[in-house]
Point group: C2
Chain length 160, copies 2
Amino acid sequence: MERTSFENWNCSVARTLDLIGDLWSLLIIREVYFGTRTFNEFQHHLGLSKNILSRRLKKMQADGLMERRAALGDARSHEYHLTEKGRSLLTVVIAMMQWGDQWADDQKGPPILVKERNTGKLIAPVKVTDGKGNSLEMRDLTLSAGPGADAVTRSRLESD
Amino acid sequence: MERTSFENWNCSVARTLDLIGDLWSLLIIREVYFGTRTFNEFQHHLGLSKNILSRRLKKMQADGLMERRAALGDARSHEYHLTEKGRSLLTVVIAMMQWGDQWADDQKGPPILVKERNTGKLIAPVKVTDGKGNSLEMRDLTLSAGPGADAVTRSRLESD
């Protein structure tokens, strides 16, 4: 079954989903956080076929999320690194991890703890906040049409 | 092509991806933010077949993300609402939206502005922070095995 493309939707959530692709992308990014760099390491840890992994890494390069570089000291082998665009997905990945820790727990507690390197303290929960750091929930928010809204988005948000 | 199930992975990101399912789930949640409540409204706005929408809403109810209730004033019709678990995905959705606004922009600016209801001010960017509100990037973080780590996760994180 072909996945629907959300690329042309007038919605930043849909466009993000389009780049995150078939969900393996986020797990590849998570592997980078673990220190994985080479094709063989990705394959070993993710248990993907070479074919699918190769296609996925190429797509992530084409989308500007990752770049392939010659490995230091061995110009014949290559390493995959996140670009700034790819690194910026950290907030999305951590938000997903923290939600999963809370709501998709197997009763044993979090598999992974994320700590600040300097202090060794756990990072804070990622939250939606106002400018002063106060937590906001959906009922505290309103949506309105932005400069990039198309006619449909605009009419939906203005009719509410 | 069947999607791989990540449910049994020892990873909260993977488990979250498993519940977010085939990506339509997050777009259904976004529809709820727009004020959509009934099956017909979801179908109209998402342009999904009845079949796929019905399957997706049932899966979200089974996963505890949404609940179906009799509509106020008309016991024969039903509305779909987010549960607390579903509402808690707000941070993930907003993090995706803000990333998309920045990195998957079509040069026209954000389609949708999210503002605080009381003040009318734009919400702050969602960030990974320490306890004091300072932004953290991946290089500021370390990963270690948590109480729910299995043997593989533990050996990977302890060998680094």
